[in-house]
């Protein structure tokens, strides 16, 4: 069956700043320290960064091939306004992603992300990404310090409406260097109500604010969720019950498969993460073939099919 991963990032320090990584590593170090192990922050950081050396997406494509993933959506999260140790400007990030898009024809789509506090330059860049770069959506990262319903974002949503492309919003906790308080799905409600022609995807809806995400998907026609991040539960629950529960809520026309590559690269490869879903007795076993198709590719294809198509120039 065709599979589209709706939530990936390029594994490179160019796009994910060291401060973000160090924040995430601090949580790992705390967990290990509680087990009586000495501080290994430097080693952990090095191990993580070692798995972040794929700036052109070549390794990701190999993992996609091994897992049977036909296409992945690459999301650009703009940390450059909030975290000052980013290696690239957001415009440079867009340009590099366009190169990846051209390098692997047919394997990727890109959602450009711009911190709305960059002003008119940011709006202009996002519009160019749709009209010139061939990008197919907007990625927003509220933990950088803004609500997803802040009016400062409305010009972006107007562009999304005009170009008929979706918005994917990070939901839930993230690196501790950022704000968790603006990561609730209910903060997106006003935007979803004001822009009914724009489809919004709640990222990580199977693992963060699950009840709220399901509620939003059930009662807002233009709200969807992706299951990326479910790998975090596989350690204590190898049968991926978190995914199974989401898939039993009667909203399978709103659920999108995603992995959040490369966040879980220390844990496994893309094929390892498909297995708990697709194997016998896996999380998707009780779904009809049609429901599986919807979750694995049709839902995201439906969100993308109306977009004004531009080939990456």
């Amino acid at each position: 069956m065709k599979i589209i991963d709706c939530h990936c990032h390029i594994a490179s320090e160019e796009y994910i700043p060291l401060s973000f990584v160090e924040g995430s590593v601090a949580n790992m170090a705390a967990a290990l320290s509680a087990q009586g192990l000495p501080d290994r922050t430097k080693t952990l950081t090095a191990m993580f960064l070692n798995r972040m050396q794929d700036p052109l997406g070549d390794s990701l494509v190999l993992e996609m091939d091994a897992a049977g993933i036909a296409k992945s959506l690459l999301l650009i999260a703009d940390f450059s306004y909030r975290l000052k140790d980013c290696k690239l400007t957001i415009e440079e990030s867009f340009v590099r992603h366009r190169e990846v898009l051209k390098r692997h024809p047919g394997r990727f789509e890109v959602f450009g992300g711009v911190d709305p506090r960059w002003g008119v330059d940011g709006i202009s860049l996002f519009e160019r990404s749709l009209t010139e770069f061939g990008f197919r959506g907007l990625k927003i990262y509220p933990p950088c310090g803004f609500s997803p319903s802040d009016p400062i974002l409305f010009p972006y949503y107007e562009l999304c409406a005009a170009h008929r492309v979706p918005v994917l919003a990070h939901i839930g906790p993230t690196s501790p260097v950022l704000d968790f308080s603006v990561s609730s799905p209910f903060l997106l409600d006003e935007a979803a109500r004001r822009f009914p022609s724009v489809n919004f995807i709640l990222a990580h809806g199977a693992v963060s604010f699950v009840e709220e995400c399901v509620m939003m998907c059930r009662y807002r026609p233009n709200v969807y969720l992706d299951i990326s991040g479910y790998q975090a539960t596989l350690g204590y629950d190898p049968s991926a019950t978190a995914v199974k529960q989401i898939l039993s809520q009667g909203i399978n026309h709103k659920v999108l498969f995603g992995t959040d590559f490369p966040v879980f690269r220390l844990q496994g490869e893309q094929k390892d993460f498909l297995q708990p879903l697709l194997r016998e007795n896996g999380a998707m076993e009780e779904l009809s073939e049609k429901e599986k198709s919807m979750v694995l590719h049709e839902n995201v294809e439906r969100l993308l099919e109306n977009a004004v198509s531009v080939v990456a120039a």
Binding site: M28, A31, L32, Q35, L37, P38, R40, K42, T43, L44, A46, M47, N50, R51, A232, L234, G235, Y236, P238, F264, R265, L266, Q267, G268, E269, D272, P276
Partner: protein, 104 residues
């Protein structure tokens, strides 16, 4: 460098020491899957790696050894990785005292 069955048991004991909850009932063999059958997640794998370093008194970072824990699926994978690491450490001149785990 030679490894005997005691070494495998040492590694299995190391694995067993990090297992919790319902997974403690699982009988560990070479084919046992670390995540699916023993519930060892990425933090658990990192803890295993660091405990392994302690047990054998080696510092993989100093040795330039980079373990891709994502590739370690089964107990046998881990045992083989441990053998490879210790062989390399031995070649680099780490002490036998450390390699026999006598520091624990």
């Amino acid at each position: 460098m030679e490894f005997d069955s005691k070494f495998d048991i040492q590694i299995m004991d190391l694995i067993a020491s990090g297992i919790s909850g319902k997974f403690k009932k699982v009988k560990i063999s070479g084919e046992t899957n670390l995540q699916k059958e023993l519930g060892i997640d990425s933090i658990g794998m990192l803890a295993l790696v660091f405990r392994f370093e302690e047990l054998f008194a080696i510092d993989m970072a100093k040795l330039g050894i980079n373990v891709n824990i994502a590739k370690l699926k089964t107990v046998n994978d881990l045992i083989q990785a441990a053998r490879d690491i210790l062989s390399r450490a031995h070649a680099e001149g780490y002490s036998e005292a450390g390699l026999t785990g006598s520091k624990v």
